[in-house]
Symmetry: C2
Subunit: 362 residues, 2 copies
């Protein structure tokens, strides 16, 4: 199959190496640089291109503006047997979130369930990655991620002013093959997707955004909050649920409580860091054992997929299945990288004195 014009297939190892070089160039220790790069490339492999290698330049920007402190240590600032508050020190969010996930798994082993929240956590990337990490070890995990006040581009239900972030939530559960991984925003469209549409000059799907007056719009440019003066009136993304948007609004508030308020943060103020990451991990060994749990999740998945498809669908899948299938395909055929995205990666390299090849490699 001929590649799409302006799109070249890149090898995952190649992208990981370039990413790691750039983050080492930012001052990150090699192990942490490799972790961040690997998280971005995993997002690409799974089809979350808005959370992939395209972020390199943005992260370099954050480092230069002091919003990310490469190599900073994390610190447990409050702890009980099954809970902890982790100050992530403004290191790359992936470093803190990975540490928190491992800490939660350890505490869940010892007591059945654990809940860890963060402060000063930078952008963690794909939230699904962390619940997947826990699920791959046999745990059940639920994670949430709120946004800093400047990212409040989602309107409350019935409102027309930004009051919430895109506030994703995710859960993961093990199966014999790929884990079940749901990773969803609690609004009608993710901020990253909206930005990609804006860059491409494409409209947003109907029913996802509204202009500054609260009238329906499909023009991504109505959301000015992120690009211009954050205090100026801006259009907003609608909470998830269309006519039943009070549900997405409610879920978004839950994410806010779990990721920000429980960490002692007032959402109406500026708090350092980009994301309030939070994770709950459950060890099925406290219930009926990991083997039984895994087998029952398998049974659930098979049961769902046994449903005859509705008109317009060719099969019934479970959350994450398309992503894992795409991952196999992209591992085999390469990750499609658009010219405009690669130019951003090259620019990121230049800014930290790292030479990035002009073209991607397989």
């Amino acid at each position: 199959m001929a590649p799409e014009q302006g799109v070249a297939p890149a090898g995952a190892d190649f992208l990981r190496q370039v990413g790691a070089d750039i983050f080492v160039g930012c001052g990150a220790p090699l192990r942490e640089a490799a972790l961040v790069a690997s998280e971005l490339v995993e997002a690409n492999l799974m089809g979350y291109d808005s959370h992939g290698i395209v972020r390199c330049n943005e992260y370099v920007d954050y480092v230069h503006r002091g919003r990310i402190t490469p190599g900073a240590a994390h610190r447990i600032v409050r702890e009980q047997r099954n809970t902890a508050v982790v100050d992530c020190g403004l290191n790359f969010g992936q470093v803190g979130a990975t540490y928190m996930t491992d800490l939660a798994c350890g505490k869940a082993r010892d007591g059945g369930i654990a809940y860890i929240v963060s402060t000063r956590c930078s952008h963690v990337g794909r939230v699904g990655s962390y619940v997947q990490r826990a699920a791959e070890r046999g745990y059940f995990a639920f994670a949430t991620c709120n946004n800093q006040k400047v990212g409040h581009i989602v309107a409350p239900w019935g409102g027309r002013e930004g009051r919430l972030g895109t506030n994703p939530l995710a859960f993961g559960a093990p199966t014999e093959k790929w884990p079940v991984v749901l990773d969803m925003t609690t609004c009608m469209i993710a901020g990253g997707k909206l930005n990609m549409l804006k860059l491409a000059g494409k409209p947003a799907p109907p029913g996802t955004i509204q202009d500054v007056e609260g009238n329906p719009s499909t023009d991504p440019a109505v959301i000015t909050a992120l690009s211009l003066d954050p205090a100026a009136p801006s259009g907003t993304i609608l909470p998830f649920g269309s006519a039943y948007g009070y549900k997405g609004y409610g879920l978004s508030m839950m994410v806010e409580i779990m990721g920000g308020i429980m960490a002692g943060l007032d959402m109406t103020q500026h708090n350092p860091g980009a994301n309030g990451f939070a994770i709950i991990v459950v060890d099925p060994d406290a219930f009926f054992g990991r083997a039984a749990f895994r087998s029952l999740v398998d049974s659930m998945c098979a049961y769902q997929m046994s449903s005859a498809p509705a008109p317009g669908f060719s099969e019934v899948v479970v959350p994450g299945l398309y992503d894992f299938r795409l991952r196999e395909k992209r591992l085999a055929e390469g990750i499609p990288v658009e010219r405009s995205v690669w130019d951003l990666v090259i620019e990121a390299g230049k800014r930290v004195g790292v030479k990035v090849p002009k073209e991607v490699r397989a």
Copy 2:
């Protein structure tokens, strides 16, 4: 204001007394009978009439068919410091769920977080009630409730056969006044609401249900699974989210995992009991304290409600606010009870030898 034709305002105390009499007539100890009746009346007060006093006759039916065993003891069948599996003994679901909520609060005080799941739990009523109970004591709570296989009237995303229950989830958080309480199904319309529409001969809202072939429908009668042979092909309710229904589908699977699978139950089999209730309770004292938590939730609510309303809305509210306002109104003016509903309550009384007044009283 003249009452709606065929609708009479009933006092909450009066309804509680009638309900308690009926459940005592079923063989429940007075304290448990009063608890169940109080839960139903609270649902009426909050506007969840489909989970209100209308259920009396259904519960009597369950008792007569052995699906509910009044007075049965609950038993902890598996326990770790912060987790437990409670066998609710097929007692009224409200009895087991209330016990589980209190157990979870106690365990959360000791370790920061607790997670309790059930087996053999009957219909628990309004799920929001239990997270509200925890929130009123200063905790943050998250609860889920799955359905028995016979209640699998919700299609998976892209499917046309019932594979999931209506699977509600709820969360509650304290404020200085009424707690924030979100109580939502993970499908497009609650089963109880659909039944009320069917009884009233009204159509379902567009986009909520599909017929047996998976084509859109607004006729509640296409869902035959609950009323006829459960094995016969039936129409289905769609998962929550309209064009993004994979999100509601994913959340529904999470409810299934939390309430059924973690309790060791295979959802493809018949398991005794109606609901798999599960609750996670967090004690903010393990983080930055209950007072700070409550105050930050207040701040969040005020911030949301400070948004200018969008066209078509007169104000921005937070989850539960309309319900608590309605509760005040109904406490003052009475709970509107339809003639057809009261006739069902009278019938329930007759079946257990309890004389119920022909007309409701204030």
